[in-house]
């Protein structure tokens, strides 16, 4: 009964958002909280019941449940057609249809669960802020979009959620819209996401053109049917284009630049949207399209390499940042890189598992940092913190747990997921993957370092607070600490869901997901090894011994990172020195300035900065186009007008002086000139006529007389 009404899930938060849109302004804060948190709690409960019912429905087979509500795009009767690549006709069709399978179940649970906790937390965090109803309205709208994204049964409805979460992210980053930096960051996020979206749409169009349907079930079935060879160029292109979309949404190199700036939004937003849920949408989408990606080894390699690069690149920036939220932002980018690394080596389940555990500990870290900021009266710079562990103990303990989890310390959640990813990378065929493993391993060390750096600077080192701030430090209210505690418990226990075989567990999480990533059909093996790799067959080298060794190495890396951070920052006084700044100042400058990527983009792509007098990028092109429009195109139009007028003036002159002057008036003047003498005889004086007549008569008379 829940399963059949699965479409209600996104509608709960949509209802909350609608109430806020129409009546929010007039409601009390308490009412706003009741409505907006209430609908999310309802959604969470509904989601739990739905997933329970689904597990009964699926009976461990993992068969997907699909519910189509109505035909959204298309005429519904299939008469509106487009031509597929092979020349056959297929209907233009995208349904408002919902799909539940193990993959979406997992997302559904943690999105509603974490979302609920963050909503509760926000009632405390935002209590003294203006625009309370607006905040919660956007948050509910976000939940609506996210649930649509997760539950969609086709690419186009997924895109609805995909753009919807982007919009809410935009609105929430720009929540403090009177701050110019906030609205700029919001624009940046939306526009960069749009670049990804363009890729996504083209990818989806490629798929429908090739395979004839937008539905995940159809596409996956076709891709697995064995009709398509591994390395099929069209599918490769489709996969790469979809991955462009994922890069935008999930902040991968080179489109990651919006995420750190997105920290302009209120902290609960960073926790919900820019850490736990929205930014994992790219991972979700790639995992959802796994059947297509597996047929495109090039795309898989690209995903893995981009993921690894992003992981290490973002981590390197995170090493030296001073804003507590920025460290976490780069950490998020880096962890997302891990997830893509996992997907790229074919370890889909491991990637999803890392999404799952990351959602808890990263949300916790952000909420904890929010609690710190709250306690510090808005201060975000870690250089002005220190010695907070006794003043805000709950925040301290919960954040410590999250840090242990993200650093990959046994038995916290991050250990299991990160270890699984590194192990799967190592176990992949081909020596090149060892490089990726090494990158991932190095990143793990850096992660431990910057996270413990954050902990030491914030909680342990001697206080560097101003007196004013120190006086006001206080632990956050229950509405904020209770979610922290719950998330902390999850950050410990979430990893146990996939206790690996090698440690005597049963990897239940992966087993649950197995049907989604299963390959029933024989995949055409044309490229040998890459085919096997793509199909995720890594049996050959799987020995417990190597796995133990790798686990030990990971733990060692975490310990080393921890130790280095402790040595450098445990006693950081008021003018402590960054170890990197001391040992390698140029490197520090580069890292501190984020490798100057933003500046480079501004010079080359946006055109906000000029190189000398030359402006490149979109704004440069815009200026050039405006100039061309005004001078050339409109110039030609105006010139045509000018020429017409000139010709008209000329013909007026011609008409006046030549045609009328020479041709018409000329003869007239001539006639007048000729007639002038004649006029002497006839100038209208009657007496003169009489005189002439008389003279004539006299003349005639004389003539006759003379004669």
């Amino acid at each position: 009964m829940f399963l059949n009404h699965i479409y209600l899930l996104p509608l709960f938060p949509a209802f909350g958002a609608a109430i806020m849109f129409f009546f929010g302004r007039r409601l009390q804060k308490a009412t706003v909280s009741a409505v907006c948190v209430g609908v999310i709690v309802l959604a969470f409960l509904f989601a739990c019941f739905t997933v329970v019912e689904y597990t009964h429905f699926a009976h461990g087979t993992g068969r997907p449940f699909e519910k189509i509500v109505y035909t959204w795009l298309g005429s519904g009767d299939g008469h509106l057609n487009f031509t597929r690549r092979d020349g056959t006709l297929a209907a233009v069709n995208a349904d408002a249809g919902f799909l539940l399978d193990p993959l979406s179940s997992i997302w559904l649970l943690f999105v509603t669960g974490v979302g609920m906790l963050i909503h509760i937390y926000s009632t405390g965090y935002m209590a003294h802020e203006g625009g309370y109803y607006r905040f919660f309205g956007y948050m509910n709208l976000f939940m609506f979009s996210m649930l649509t994204l997760i539950l969609a049964n086709n690419y186009i409805l997924l895109f609805v959620g995909w753009e919807g979460v982007g919009l809410c992210s935009y609105l929430l980053i720009g929540f403090y819209f009177h701050r110019n930096s906030a609205s700029t960051a919001a624009n940046k996020a939306f526009i960069i996401n749009r670049i990804g979206d363009a890729g996504f749409i083209l990818g989806a169009l490629t798929l429908v053109w090739y395979l004839g349907s937008f539905r995940f079930i159809d596409i996956n079935a076709l891709a697995r049917s064995g009709q398509f060879a591994i390395g099929d160029p069209v599918l490769t292109a489709a996969a790469l284009l979809l991955f462009v979309g994922a890069c935008g949404k999930s902040a991968q190199v080179p489109l990651y630049v919006w995420l750190p700036d997105a920290m302009e939004g209120p902290t609960p937003v960073s926790a919900l949207i820019h850490a736990a849920t929205m930014v994992t949408a790219g991972v979700y989408m790639v995992a959802r399209s796994n059947a297509v990606f597996v047929l495109a080894p090039t795309a898989m390699k690209t995903v893995a390499i981009v993921g690894a690069i992003t992981a290490v690149f973002a981590a390197s920036i995170g090493l030296v940042q001073n804003d507590i939220k920025r460290v976490l932002a780069y950490s998020t980018v880096s962890q997302l890189g891990y997830m893509f690394l996992a997907l790229g080596v074919g370890a889909f389940a491991a990637g999803v598992f890392h999404v799952f555990t990351h959602a808890f500990f990263k949300a916790l870290l952000f909420l904890g940092s929010g609690s710190v900021i709250h306690a510090m009266s808005g201060e975000q710079d870690m250089r002005h913190m220190g010695d907070l562990r006794r003043r805000i103990p709950t925040t301290h303990w919960t954040m410590l747990i999250a840090t242990l989890a993200i650093a990959g310390i046994f038995p916290f959640a991050g250990f299991f997921s990160k270890d699984e990813i590194l192990w799967q990378t190592w176990a992949s065929e081909g020596g090149a993957y060892r490089i990726l493993w090494f990158v991932g391993y190095g990143t793990a060390l850096m992660t431990a370092f910057y996270m413990f750096r954050l902990m030491y600077l914030t909680f342990y080192s001697p206080s560097r607070m101003s007196h004013e701030v120190e006086h006001h430090v206080h632990e956050s209210p229950k509405s904020m600490t209770v979610p922290l505690v719950i998330l902390a418990l999850c950050s410990i226990g979430a990893g146990w869901l996939s206790w690996p075989h090698s440690l005597g567990g049963s990897a239940r999480f992966e087993k649950f997901l197995e049907p989604v990533f299963a390959r029933e059909a024989v995949v055409l093996v044309e490229e040998g090894k890459s085919g096997q790799l793509a199909a995720g067959e890594k049996e050959a080298e799987h020995t417990d011994k190597t796995e133990y060794a790798l686990m030990f190495l990971s733990l060692a890396a975490a310990a080393v990172g921890w130790g280095m951070a402790r040595r450098s920052y445990n006693h950081a006084g008021k003018d402590y020195a960054e170890p990197i700044a001391v040992k390698a100042p140029p490197l520090y400058t580069v890292l501190y300035n984020k490798w100057f990527v933003d500046e480079g983009y501004d010079y080359i792509f946006t055109g906000r900065r000029k190189i000398g007098d030359i402006r490149l990028g979109a704004m440069g092109a815009g200026e050039a186009a405006s100039w061309f429009d005004a001078k050339v195109i409109d110039g030609v139009v105006n010139d045509v007008g000018w020429v017409t007028r000139a010709v008209a003036t000329l013909s007026t002159w011609w008409d006046k002086w030549i045609i009328d002057g020479v041709g018409v008036n000329g003869p007239a003047i001539l006639a007048r000139m000729i007639s002038y003498p004649a006029r002497l005889f006839e100038w209208g004086l009657v007496q003169w006529y009489a005189l002439v007549m008389i003279a004539g008569l006299l003349g005639f008379g004389m003539y006759y007389v003379w004669k």
Binding site: Y70, T71, W72, L73, G74, S75, G76, D77, H79, L80, N81, F82, T83, R84, R85, G87, L89, V92, I156, F159, V160, E163, G164, L167, Y170, G174, F177, H178, N180, S183, T184, A186, N187, F190, I191, R194, I195, D197, A198, G199, I201, L202, L205, T206, V208, W209, A618, M619, A621, G622, E623, A624, A625, S626, D629, I633, D634, V637, G641
Partner: protein, 536 residues
């Protein structure tokens, strides 16, 4: 028995105009009330058309026919002959809706020569409706030209500082196009006589003979029509009259200009260029040229928009970009592209119409459209800011609002025709977000820095009323576009079928996918038996 509903819809605004002539011009409020009553009446009267049309949406051919061929001036074969199909139906509904909205929006904006203003506006309304209803080329041309004059006067009298320049530019530019079109019409007329021995301007009759014109002549006729319509759309590089006309026109004039007048060009492509010259439009070189211009228009319009300092000019250039999508869809020559294009024409009418209203509201309060004059408006006018955001999102094609449905369907059509076209159009979507969001940031976000903006009052109920129907339509098309797809299905498939039957008979259905493989000589492009079969 003939139904006269089309005539009734067509002449209601004209009757209103005549009625207004008898009201003394000092009575401004009475004039406003009467004009608004007739405008609203014109919209309400068109509503019964919706269920009537819906009942026969899948039936082939034109519906609600009125008059017979040649009944008006039999000696030359001109007839008062009306009829609509799904495409014109949607455009007519858009016209009556926008006509009402723009007249409603003029209440406080127009203070001089009130009577003349409303009279001309109502006359304009009839002219536009006539263009979409006429099934006779003579009648069509009468309406087509009749529409120009009121628009010329609206810009020239009630416009901004450079109104004369803009009005004359608009008039002459458009007139140039229509003269070429007239030549084309006359050729078709005499050609019909040469083939059948009958002189007629009846469009359904000409549908039967026009595709028989050999390619080497048809291409010139196509060019004549093309220039006429391309100016009207306007396609790159015929677009420069548009920003001037928009900037100078009064708000309501801009709404109608963008919302309806531009659609005459795209309507002309769909109604005439495609079915009259199927052999020409499906010629790969012609098709790629037109598509090329559309793609340039999409990106170029967006880039120029990005750098505008005047809000209205920004919106005007965004129209060039959006209309590029419409022509792209049309000349993709498949049902997805065409359907998306017509839908996008409606969407553009709704979104861009609303955008001009939005600019007009600020202009009415501050008498400037300079972006730099504003900032922080969302603090002083929150309702206005919200509505603006919704319409911006609709314009940039956010899913669940109308723009996405049209844009996506067009992209799908373009992609199936040639994936490169879709790939080139895609940056337009990104740039649309860029110029609109940047505009929004500069006008609405931040703090109020200009003291003149501190006391702006938020929307009045009348102003909200002007936006309400547009927002409802935007949501409807975004959430449940199926009825629109169904209405367009029959006429669009008919056109696609005509093109298919009349292009190279040996070509596969998807000939347009690989243009290089298909270059017909003029003789093969001339249609064979298929032409008459398809045009029934």
């Amino acid at each position: 028995m003939q139904s006269h509903i089309l005539s009734i819809i067509l002449f209601t605004p004209l009757i209103g105009a005549l009625f207004l002539l008898f009201v003394p011009k000092e009575n401004k409020d009475a004039i406003r009330w009467i004009a608004n009553i007739f405008a609203l009446g014109g919209f309400l009267i068109s509503l019964p058309l919706v269920p009537m049309f819906w009942a026969q949406r899948f039936e082939p051919g034109f519906k609600f026919l009125e008059g017979t061929a040649n009944n008006w001036i039999p000696s030359i074969g001109a007839g008062y002959n009306l009829g609509i199909d799904g495409i014109s139906f949607l455009l007519i509904m858009l016209t009556t809706l926008l006509g009402w909205i723009s007249i409603l929006s003029s209440w406080t904006a127009i203070e001089t020569r009130v009577k003349e203003y409303y009279v001309w506006f109502l006359v304009l309304q009839t002219g536009m409706l006539g263009v979409f209803m006429a099934l006779d080329f003579f009648l069509f041309f009468v309406f087509w030209e009749a529409m120009l004059v009121p628009m010329y006067l609206l810009i020239g009298i009630w416009g901004g500082p450079r109104k004369l320049y803009a009005a004359i530019k608009f008039f002459l530019y458009t007139l140039l196009g229509s003269v070429l079109m007239l030549l084309g019409i006359l050729y078709l007329y005499f050609h019909h006589h040469a083939v059948t021995g009958v002189f007629t301007f009846s469009i359904p009759e000409l549908y039967k003979t026009a595709p028989l014109i050999p390619f080497n002549i048809a291409i010139w006729l196509f060019v004549a029509f093309f220039i006429g319509f391309a100016i009207k759309v306007p396609m790159f590089p015929f677009h420069t009259w548009l920003p001037d006309a928009h900037v100078e026109a009064p708000t309501a004039g801009s709404v109608i200009l963008a919302g309806v007048l531009l659609k005459m060009g795209t309507y002309g492509f769909v109604r005439f260029s495609l079915p009259f010259f199927p052999g020409v439009v499906s010629h790969p070189r012609v098709q790629s040229w037109v598509i090329g211009l559309s793609l340039v228009g999409i990106i170029y319009g967006a880039l120029v928009s990005l750098m505008q300092k005047d809000m209205k000019k920004l919106v005007a250039y965004s129209s060039v970009s959006h209309l590029g999508f419409c022509t792209l869809g049309i000349f993709a020559l498949n049902s997805a592209g065409l359907t998306g294009s017509v839908l996008q024409q409606i969407n553009h009418g709704i979104s861009t119409g609303a955008l001009f209203l939005i600019v007009g509201i600020l202009y009415e309060r501050r008498h400037t459209r300079e972006i730099a004059e504003y900032g922080g408006i969302s603090t002083v006018m929150p309702v206005y800011a919200t509505i603006t955001m919704i319409m911006f999102l609709s314009s940039m094609g956010l899913p669940l609002l109308n723009g996405f449905v049209g844009e996506f369907t067009i992209l799908q059509g373009a992609f199936t025709a040639n994936w490169r076209w879709a790939a080139w159009a895609a940056p337009g979507v990104v740039l649309a977000a860029a110029y609109l969001l940047w505009l929004y940031q500069r006008v609405f976000f931040g703090t109020v820095t200009n003291p003149k903006n501190e006391k702006l009052h938020d929307l009045t109920p009348r102003e909200i009323l002007t936006f309400a129907p547009l927002i409802i339509m935007a949501l409807w098309i975004g959430l449940y576009p199926k009825p629109f797809f169904q209405i367009l299905e029959q006429p669009v498939n008919q056109i696609v079928q005509t093109i298919h039957d009349n292009s190279n008979p040996n070509a596969p259905v998807n000939a347009q996918i690989q243009p290089t493989s298909f270059i017909p000589s003029p003789s093969t492009a001339a249609p064979g038996v298929g032409a008459l079969k398809a045009s029934n």
